[in-house]
């Protein structure tokens, strides 16, 4: 349904969104690139700004904090994805079953999604994970165990737990919607064909969910890569929970080394792009289906 007229109208109407996003992407990106090749510490007038070539890049990548931070990022993203998808599928399967008060359960399950990250981080950190007064500590003591100092003894696990709690509703609801869209005749046919429940799950339900799982992975990765408040509030990047995002944040804002931080920013952008290309491939393929 395209005429010359409507095509030019389409270009015109797409322009504001495209131009804004292009500006939003390019302007800061160019500035970051520029800074990344300079020595630039705005709070230190004694250090003269100037070009340093790839110095910042070399220093950032050779700093002892770099690789651990990449690793931490991947562990948090991967861990949270794994937990939310596995639990999400199971929970979605359960919620799809006939029961009383399904609507209420759905309201309960969806709730964490509405909680802002700063709140959930604070609540988990203090009210649940505090080694003295936290609810977990009470629970552990009630069973005669020594309370765990969550945020320093199992810091990554704690953060993954918090993040997964926030994103489980999202995964569950998308997967539930997908399960509900499964043609029941397909399942009945497979039942007639004599497929036991487990193979019905693996041969019919799971393939049907693949598109939904792709969407969950895509959207969650976008948000998980930039997890910030949860770390900012809980450990402040200590105990090996410093993600790449957080490391750069520290370089730029805490130690005000903009040049070094910007080089780190470029690395983060490259990492994000590698993951993005990988994801876009999958999603692009799934888009038309």
């Amino acid at each position: 349904m395209a005429t010359q007229h409507s095509r030019s109208a389409a270009r015109f109407m797409m322009a504001p969104a495209v131009i804004l996003l292009l500006g939003w992407m390019l302007v800061p990106l160019v500035m970051t690139l520029w800074f990344s090749f300079r020595r630039f510490l705005p709070n230190r007038p004694d250090i003269v700004p100037g070009w340093v070539g790839f110095d910042n890049y070399v220093r950032f990548v050779t700093s002892s904090a770099f690789w651990p931070s990449v690793q931490t990022t991947l562990i948090i993203v991967g861990g949270a994805l794994l937990i939310t998808i596995v639990l999400g599928v199971l929970l979605a399967l359960l919620l799809d079953q006939p029961m009383w008060g399904q609507g209420v359960v759905r309201i309960l399950v969806i709730a964490p999604f509405f909680v802002m990250p700063t709140v959930s981080a604070l609540v988990w950190k203090n009210i649940f994970m505090d080694p003295v007064n936290g609810l977990f500590a009470h629970l552990w003591r009630a069973f005669g165990a020594e309370p765990v100092v969550w945020l320093s003894d199992a810091p990554l696990f704690s953060i993954i737990l918090i993040v997964s709690w926030q994103w489980l509703p999202f995964a569950t609801l998308i997967l539930l919607t997908a399960i509900q869209s499964l043609d029941s005749e397909q399942l009945e046919a497979s039942e007639m064909d004599g497929a036991p429940p487990l193979s019905r799950f693996f041969y019919i339900i799971l393939p049907h969910l693949s598109r939904a799982i792709t969407i969950v992975i895509l959207i969650q990765t976008i948000f998980l890569l930039s997890v910030f408040a949860e770390i900012f509030v809980t450990t402040g990047g200590a105990f090996g929970t410093r993600t790449l995002t957080y490391l750069i944040f520290q370089r730029v804002l805490e130690s005000q080394n903009v040049g070094l931080g910007s080089a780190g920013g470029v690395y983060a952008i490259i990492l994000a792009n590698i993951i993005a290309i990988f994801l876009m491939r999958i999603v692009g393929k799934n888009l038309d289906a």
Partner: protein
């Protein structure tokens, strides 16, 4: 599938689902309960579940200490403004992609989504500088713009998927009936897409409401929304559980209530139109 299910089976499902639902909801419930306790009761061992002296004292203290209404108002303006402006920019763009698709449409869409993957921290300092230069630091307008931009790809994407479900023939009919492009969008497309637009607005309002990176880094006193309000309790006041809980409850209550009331549209919106 209408099939007889044994009551036993249904009971097991119900018990299981309710237990898990309760478990997932528990941190929120516990926070709300704690907000009504005294500080001593809040850290009582064993923990007090329902039988304690209910008090509103914490809310009074929190309100006195920090001007809750101002933060709330900032949150409403920032989340609402960024969402509405975003939708107004996104509707024409999504129209173009859904009804006049070209070979590049999919690429543009994926590119837009990929800007969302750009790590915010990578461009934090440039934005910071630009904000200082333009006098936008710690202003609501500045945050409205930034949050609109970070959510724009998602708004476009969602509207695109909703628009695609509308048969092109209806828009062609409007065209044959003499509607201009503007009239076609205002009188035909938008009213037909109301449920989709509503879910889009809702979801993005929530995302904007909960956005913490930019709101924490680009505001100080004037434009700070509820994310900053609660961050100010991180320490050492965090040790006052009852007050922390009261502040948390105040920060999440508006969105929690909004979310529950519009659960249906939201679930639709949550799937980004990608899952039917």
């Amino acid at each position: 599938m209408s099939r007889a299910v044994t009551t036993r089976r249904k009971t097991i499902n119900t018990v299981l689902a309710w237990s898990i639902g309760f478990l997932i909801f528990f941190p929120i419930l516990w926070t709300i309960l704690t907000s009504f306790k005294t500080e001593a009761q809040a850290i009582n061992d064993p923990p007090l579940f329902l039988f304690f002296d209910w008090t509103l004292e914490n809310y009074a203290v929190v309100q006195e200490r920090s001007d809750y209404m101002r933060f709330l108002w900032n949150s409403v303006i920032i989340a609402g403004g960024s969402t509405l402006i975003g939708v107004m920019i996104a509707i024409p763009a999504a129209w173009s992609m859904a009804f006049v698709p070209s070979k590049r449409t999919k690429d543009i869409l994926l590119w837009m989504l990929s800007t969302k993957m750009l790590p915010a921290v990578g461009v934090l300092y440039p934005i910071y500088l630009i904000f200082i230069e333009l006098g936008l630091l710690d202003t609501r307008i500045g945050l409205v713009v930034v949050i609109m931009l970070i959510n724009l790809p998602i708004i476009v994407w969602m509207l695109y998927t909703y628009f695609k479900e509308i048969p092109g023939e209806i828009l062609e009919a409007a065209r044959m009936d003499g509607a201009s492009l503007r009239e076609e969008i205002i009188y035909v497309l938008t009213p037909m897409a109301v449920p989709g637009i509503a879910s889009t607005i809702l979801l993005n309002f929530i995302l904007a409401w909960n956005e913490a990176f930019w709101t924490l880094n680009l505001t100080a006193a004037q434009a700070a929304p509820l994310t900053a309000f609660i961050a100010s309790y991180s320490s050492p006041e965090g040790l006052f559980y009852a007050k922390l809980s009261a502040a948390s409850t105040m920060a999440i209550a508006p969105i929690l209530i909004l979310g529950w009331f519009s659960q249906k549209q939201l679930v639709r919106g949550l799937t980004f139109g990608a899952v039917k």
